[in-house]
Symmetry: C2
Subunit: 463 residues, 2 copies
């Protein structure tokens, strides 16, 4: 309790809430009771994601909007009792989408389409580019196109993608976005558009990063209904060429400042390596970043607080709300670089929406089987299955991979994730509070066990 008493003496009332809470609740509830209570009663995760989506909204990396998001998170963490709250700055190359985004079929079936620029896209200029569209059903078809064959053309790249609980079809369909534009550019294309990487049928295109190359071309994503319409046009056009006018006006702003927001529930023995809970604070500009990743930041912060409400943990629990994840993991890289010499005991991240956790994975099942089994057993009552899959961690815990330390993945149900991913539809109303609370309960249970674990979480690793 030494730490708590010191904290009470040293900190202002608003800042010391968690310490007060620890003092009041220590011993009053077991960790299991705390996690069970969260399942029906948590209000913290919702308060975070409701607050940041309402009071800040979109938080494009490196912009003033992301800065407001970080400021908001810093304030929220302090008000809710986190200690050592900081916004750790780093510099980044900042891309912004610009004001104009339109696509229009000009012949033979004139009609407007919904389009959005991909992160890293070049600008067409405000006058746009009008050119014939060449249709590729897959990225493999595009790759097989002869050199120079797309000179003066717009490449349209389709793909197949179905909803999957584990999100695995993102890896199957994603290359159309990740490398489609750069391959099209290498064949001479003046621009490229893809069918949005998504599983919905709404006129809301999915953005997302694309590989940037020298002499980058404008690169957009059509909404899925528009992409399907374009494919029907090819079926109906016969020998007539299909021409599109594309206007995308992204800009590169050069180096601007972003930052990583951190905060701690300080443990009884701060000399022990901390437990790191991660999410990202930035979002794409087109949605409010509710599912991606306001919910994740709410889940991890609420869980850390709920652990503290069952007693001050042995180890410090640190939350990391990484900046600039969407545009290239800049925050994760900066955090690892800045803190590589400070060992992390274990790290895990929430960044796959707010639907229920269904599977537990670690990377220490072989090296610390007892702890792995204890953790898996502890969340079975929440419907979370054990797994032999080796956890590799999310985008924001580069530091754990760089340190080769313990990693956990709490896999969320991604069945509807790619309906919303990187679209204007990523808004608060998509969050189901019952499932959100199940996430917080599972995180509370897992983080609580880990933060009170005395030995090496990873166990004995031979290397």
């Amino acid at each position: 309790m030494r730490k708590n008493l010191l904290a009470l003496a040293a900190l202002s009332l608003s800042v010391s809430y968690s310490s007060v809470a620890v003092a009041q609740h220590s011993g009053a509830m077991t960790l299991e009771e705390g996690a069970d209570k969260v399942l029906t009663a948590d209000t913290l995760a919702w308060d975070f994601v409701e607050g940041i989506t309402t009071e800040v909204g979109p938080r494009q990396a490196g912009t003033e909007a992301e800065q407001r998001g970080r400021d908001w998170a810093v304030k929220w963490l302090r008000q809710n009792g986190f200690e050592n709250v900081a916004d750790e700055p780093f510099m980044m190359e900042t891309w912004v989408p610009g004001a104009l985004a339109s696509a229009e079929i000009t012949s033979p079936f004139p009609q407007p389409f919904e389009v959005t620029p991909l992160g890293g896209s070049a600008s067409t200029g405000t006058d746009g580019i009008e050119a014939e569209v060449v249709y590729f059903k897959t990225i493999a078809e595009l790759s097989a196109a002869p050199e120079g064959s797309l000179k003066g053309k717009i490449a349209y790249i389709s793909h197949s993608m179905t909803p999957t609980q584990d999100g695995s079809q993102y890896g199957f369909a994603g290359p159309a976005r990740w490398v489609g534009a750069s391959i099209a550019q290498s064949k001479g294309a003046v621009a490229s558009v893809i069918k949005s990487i998504g599983t919905d049928k709404h006129r809301n295109p999915h953005t997302g990063g694309t590989r940037v190359v020298d002499d980058m071309i404008p690169a957009g994503a059509l909404s899925i209904p528009d992409a399907l319409n374009l494919e029907r046009m090819f079926a109906r056009a016969g020998d007539r060429p299909i021409t599109m006018k594309l206007v995308l006006t992204p800009q590169n702003r050069g180096m601007t400042q972003s930052g990583n927001v951190v905060g701690e529930i300080v443990g009884r023995d701060p000399s022990l390596p901390p437990v790191l809970l991660a999410c990202h604070i930035d979002s794409w500009w087109n949605g409010t970043g509710a599912f991606d990743d306001g919910a994740g930041c709410g889940i991890i912060s609420a869980a850390a607080l709920h652990v503290s409400h069952t007693g001050q943990p042995l180890r410090t629990i640190r939350v990391l709300m990484a900046g600039a994840e969407e545009v290239g993991l800049f925050g994760s890289i900066a955090y690892s670089k800045a803190h590589i010499d400070e060992p992390i005991a274990v790290a895990f991240e929430s960044d796959f929406g707010a639907d229920r956790i269904w599977r537990f994975e670690s990377n220490f099942r072989d090296t610390n089987p007892d702890l792995h089994a204890e953790l898996a057993a502890s969340v079975a009552r929440f419907g979370v299955a054990n797994s032999t899959i080796v956890a590799s961690g999310g985008a924001d815990i580069n530091i754990a991979r760089d340190q080769k330390t313990a990693i956990i993945d709490l896999q969320q149900d991604g069945t509807r994730y790619f309906d919303l991913h990187h679209t204007p539809d990523d808004t608060l109303d998509k969050i189901d509070i019952v499932q959100l609370r199940q996430n917080v309960a599972v995180w509370t249970q897992i983080a609580g066990i880990l933060a009170n674990y005395e030995g090496s979480i990873q166990g004995e690793v031979a290397q």
Copy 2:
């Protein structure tokens, strides 16, 4: 068969398809067999709606796009064997949405919202209007606001709306759109925005007509997620005013030409009053008019052809694809004015999407109970229930109401209709071909009985 032989001789091969079909199929299938076959095998309705949404897309009334839609429909009707196909022109006051539509909360929680102009809205000018927003939970609350109390303000009007199978909550929630702007204007507001009249949670605002008054103000609809966000802002803002910058740039183009597309399956006795099947060919600019009302035009046209495939009907079946329905029923009014002296035997319309028909209604249950009962019984096998509700007909059959003749309503399932209504999401992918075919089967059955009915469909009406 006289008529058929004449038609074969007089018409080109492509135009005479239906006559050929009649000659080939007459007597080969009963009407019941024909309707049953449609249930699993119709391709005509899909061909129409797939074609017009792909080759034309949005068809805003009074514009060149609607003209292309009418031209496309004329060609389709001729190619599929309709006779007396025409585009009957009329003049109308034409409103267009303009190029810009944006809404942005400027204080205390800056973020962009999705907005669309309502049909009839005035322009804010390209510089927009920035003003404090005043929140009204219902149209009744707005109506109760003191005179002059909205001077210099933007009124925000919310409402409650839930999905209903019969679409009845459109009447409950609709006034917020229909009269909200005009009431706000009367209290001094400089602009108004409503929560979209809809039941979805997508960032796709629902447009639709609003009452136009002298000194009309700019009037927009926020997407439902944005409207919910605005309401949360009011809950979080305390005493701080919420200000919005609104940019809407609609234009009035003055008088332009629209038209009603008509075509006929000519009956064995063309002197008998025809059976009128109606839909509308225009759509709002923001979607492709698949559910509203490309599907309806496909359903009625397919049904007329399927009736002819079971033998030339006694009465002529006329299809009316009305122009300019969305913006004020201009086509329906023009059609009635032009044809008021030509008696219609019975009229019915398809304009409520493409989901299954679940209820049969007529306005002659009392005056011709045997026919009403026969019609209701004939579609029971398709899951369509009889009803005592008196049919009043859809928007495009003004002529039937003006002539006080027989009307039928084939009620479609509207549960998801207001997810899509007047939004960018009104696209082909929303149409379920199984349900679309059920519509065509029911229409074929009903239209076939009526077109072969010898007596007065309405029965003896005392007036």
